[in-house]
Symmetry: C2
Subunit: 228 residues, 2 copies
């Protein structure tokens, strides 16, 4: 697993949610020279407006391709993001990370990384980029370094490519960055964050609630980056 | 990872394809006393008729529940099972396993196990059963013991349940059985294999082709079990 981005002119798959973290990852991968194929997921999320943002971001930041894969996580339920459970509002950033909130979607990153792995294998890409972040995060277990390392190991046992000696590398360049550091990197790379959407619980017009964990972390990041 | 089934009266999630292997796994888990919740996948497979078989099998073998989860593996392409690539016909069983055939679906078992893991976490189940088999198989890398062990490890890093000290166990009771041994176990448990569907390339009426790897292995198994 890599947390720094080396120069390369080969294909990569980028998990793109439409939020600010994955937009920054795409910009970093493009800067390093990767030919970026983005993958997003239509999983029954209440903040489905993020898929429009993902389309805009992929296009604006020069992705070579973009697929949106339907996956029925809402059939399984169990999360405030996919079922009829209220999204928590007004938690302070300091409080987050102390427990795992109801916005946790069981096994979400494992499902998303698995689909990204399948897409990478089909494309002949061996690099997968994810915007996971272990600081300024909501306390999700599937954003930690040890989890990402275990996924990379699994990927190389799971696939024809891995078995045939052409291994996958999982890149998590934001893993140890604060939200403010992420935003500064993105601004250096001229990412237009007004295109991105982070809110877990937008209204019908797609406007952010300003109160969910994701909105609180986003606002804190812009303030600390001196652009709030 | 467990390859023998111990008695237990708790919930389990069973990956159910509608084929003979997963039907046998469901019968074994039920015999051991598990309360079985089945999960099947509508992934753009050309042999979608297997989903009707999965419904029949879940009902006949006393599953407590059954969900069919849509997942767009066909959006990714790259396999004879989901894209416009011909399914190989007439390969001998001895030839299989020597290479990875075009019916391989990139990262399929990782995607399916990830979704089963999410479902298990939502249900409060800690046992997941899969009909993976390392003998009499088609040469897929994601059916091997070392792959399944790596997935179990990942599952316990990925999830709230795993992090909070209530780990998942992955069960692959058919892993080291021949197809004939699997069929004998199923017949002992009174599984009606006429309900199951194995063919990768059925005709429009759902009739098996008799020539694909899956049909060849199925027929060889029945012959060797003395019921062909």
């Amino acid at each position: 697993m890599q947390t720094t981005v080396q120069k390369a002119s080969r294909k990569a798959v980028i998990l793109l949610s439409g939020g600010l973290d994955s937009a920054t990852v795409l910009a970093l991968a493009r800067e390093a020279g990767y030919v970026c194929h983005c993958i997003s997921f239509d999983y029954g999320q209440r903040h489905r407006v993020e898929l429009e943002a993902a389309r805009r971001v992929a296009s604006a930041l020069g992705a070579a391709g973009h697929v949106i894969v339907p996956v029925g996580l809402d059939v399984l339920g169990g999360s405030a993001l996919t079922a009829d459970i209220a999204v928590p509002k007004g938690r302070s950033a300091a409080r987050m990370g102390a427990d795992i909130p109801v916005t946790y979607v069981p096994a979400r990153n494992t499902v998303f990384l698995s689909l990204a792995l399948g897409y990478a294998e089909v494309l002949g890409a061996r690099d997968i980029f994810i915007g996971a972040n272990a600081l300024d995060y909501s306390g999700y277990p599937d954003c930690r370094a040890e989890y990402l390392e275990a996924f990379e190991r699994l990927a190389n046992l799971a696939t024809k490519a891995g078995v045939e000696g052409s291994p996958f590398t999982l890149h998590a360049p934001l893993l140890r960055m604060s939200k403010a550091e992420i935003i500064k990197e993105g601004l250096r790379l001229r990412v237009d964050y007004s295109m991105t959407r982070s809110c877990y619980d937008p209204d019908e017009q797609g406007h952010a609630c300003g109160q969910c964990d994701s909105c609180v972390l986003r606002q804190k990041g812009f303030t600390e980056a001196g652009v709030g």
